[in-house]
Symmetry: none
Subunit: 244 residues, 4 copies
């Protein structure tokens, strides 16, 4: 009879569903109270299960946290990728704007969780996001950036990691500022201007626009910067060669 096969399928589905419920509950509680402040009992209650049941899905509280973090970062990456797929614009700056808007919103929405992630790295040796998750997330930007260079929309000499630092750094700091309204002017900020500003900055700084004036101004400083970088890289190279 199918009385065995079907329930088996159902069983598996049920387990996975329950796993999802646990993760959702755990995330909510972790966000509200932090890792140490979260109590397994409350997580269980929110998930509508017994405390012991959690332990048949996850070895320990730390393991549970890890699973939550993994799910979170993977979801973030998937969403960012989805944005890149579904965005109408085909030009770099249009796509950058979409990514920036998504990232800023995501950071604001999940600010507590993101803070949590970084806090954990320091404090709790056993619980720390594998950096691969973060790397996969920022890879969405990297890919966009490289394609921008390939398409000739970005200056070929623009350096990836510098742009990445500015992109994520500015947006995250903005998010934090928005959240705190820390600015002295006490003007409630909105997300729109931040994104616009970001894109404008990229366009003027990294774009291959005909705006020769801007390029020219950047000129001397740019040379200096690049010479510094070259020097550093050569040094590194030498170290490696001598170390090997």
């Amino acid at each position: 009879m199918a009385s065995k096969a079907v329930p088996a399928e159902t069983q598996r589905a049920k387990l996975e569903r329950k796993e999802g419920v646990i993760l959702a509950a755990a995330r909510a509680i972790f966000v509200d109270h932090g890792f140490d402040g979260a109590r397994m009992q409350e997580i269980a209650r929110r998930a509508g299960i017994g405390e012991g049941t959690i332990y048949s899905y996850y070895e320990s509280k730390a393991e549970l946290m890890l699973a939550v973090l993994e799910q979170f970062w993977d979801g973030l990456t998937r969403e960012a990728e989805d944005v890149m797929v579904s965005v109408q614009a085909t030009d770099f700056f249009g796509r950058l704007e979409a990514l920036a808007a998504y990232h800023l919103a995501a950071v604001i929405r999940n600010s507590d969780f993101i803070n949590l992630t970084f806090a954990l790295r320091r404090n709790n040796s056993e619980v720390s996001v594998s950096r691969d998750h973060l790397r996969q997330y920022v890879a969405v930007f990297d890919e966009l950036f490289l394609r921008g260079q390939d398409r000739g929309e970005l200056r070929p000499d623009a350096i990836l990691w510098q742009a990445r630092d500015i992109f994520y750094g500015s947006l995250e700091y903005s998010a934090r500022s928005i959240e705190m309204t820390i600015d002295a002017e006490r003007i409630p900020r909105e997300q729109g201007p931040v994104v616009d500003q970001m894109v404008a900055l990229f366009r003027s700084h990294y774009g291959t626009g005909d705006s020769a004036v801007a390029t020219g101004t950047a000129g001397l400083a740019g040379v200096e910067t690049r010479l510094d970088q070259l020097t550093a890289q050569i040094e590194t190279l030498n170290e490696r060669l001598s170390g090997a």
Copy 2:
């Protein structure tokens, strides 16, 4: 005579010294284990005193944490202000470079503590840096920025908080990246380029274009291109070496 005054002075000095010892020990332990993970006993042991003694200086663990945070942020602000006082340069961009260099170094040096600060804000309601401390710290940049506008070195239409977000955001993200070496290239980064890049970005984006000297230098763009090519080649070389 002074036989009473001097010991009194010594007494006070001794207490203050002990207070400093406690704060230093507390900070070390808090950084290592986070707020919840830190144990008062270990703090006491590190400070070379009894557990109870801490409680005659600070009401509770939370109060101690607060004192540590206060000391940290006030110190950071004071140092930043000192940098602004002692820096040779009088022009905006020169001074900005000094501030950026200081900030980046400070963030790298104290990254764990800064993460801790932000983690606390979320999780532990009673322990949170009064945002005034943060505001005072970033005020150093604000003042510099406004002076730059007054002196005509910065575009008058530049918006303070946007520039601030980019400045602190990029530097902090860079610091984090440097610390994690999260970049795919796995090239150990240095602080110099990051600062240069920051200043260059400000110059090109917020600077007043009328500075005729920078403009009009024709051959420089060619030089830049050549340098970029060189950089790219070395980068490629590097990747190959690390991949092997």
Copy 3:
């Protein structure tokens, strides 16, 4: 079937039994060491459970103490009421004697606990017997007294609270004296004479004199009482003489 109901019943019964065990252990330790002197660990050990378990039954040490007190006073009241129900005598003085005998025995048996009760009222603001418990206990006497007046056995002008003070006061003081053997004569006291004396006092002071039968009865009771005392004293005397 009942395969579920029965264990459920057993479950509940088990919990209630454990609750009883905890209360008994707590009471023993509280009596031995007082509220502040009692240690939760020792209570747990005596109850044969873990420390933490107590806290799933009672919020705190104070709550536990409160529960113990409540149980004690309620039990005392119930027993007193039972005595009133089961006593053979129907006349006031017969019933009073039964109540006095019960109360004196109870006070002697639980003297430590009763002292504890009153000590708590002063010292520990959060732990104090709701005076309602006490009031319910003395209400047994009040009811008896009022019925005695209704039946014409007690003078209608007798005042309730005065009689109550004498009744409980004398018995409690006697109990304390018996317990301490504080009397100079060092004659071990017995409970019988105290009760008899109490009843005799009530009869002579509050009784209605016109019931000739009652008076006569009182006379005989007095003779009996004094004979009892004589017997006891002679016994004591003999013991001493033979012991010396």
Copy 4:
């Protein structure tokens, strides 16, 4: 010079004065917070001295408590004796009324401390009033009572300890009731009626008034009297034996 003798005298006086200050402070704090709840620091602060100083007067907290108790009970006894000396009345019942009034007032005024005394007896083995202090206090009543018998104002067959239990018991219970206003009638009680009631009760129950004649029951009373005399004789005998 007297510079040595006089200060020496002053020294001693100063010490005794300080001792008194400490005792007063200790008593106040003990009464407010109980033995365990009292903190040495607070006692020291109230006495206007350093914590360590207490320990040069008393070995420990328990010793201090003991000294406080001793002082209290001795003072109570002295006051009671003073009342007996200064009271105008020469007859037993007049003097009894004075003693009762004093005792009731004293018990009400010091109810917390008296409760404390008895609580300590149970809980803290090292801190307990030597029962001799109590005995000395009640001896004031005993003496009055015996004198009343000698003067023929009290029935010779009245038994000391029974009367004593009623006297102190009723008054203490009344005091507690007054303090708690525990009575259902919620009528604020006053001390006067309680004392009057006490004296009236003694007069009717123990007095040698013509009321004995009025009793009417001829034969039985005679038997009782005879038995009482016998009892008294045996008691006397007993006392002599235990005293030897």
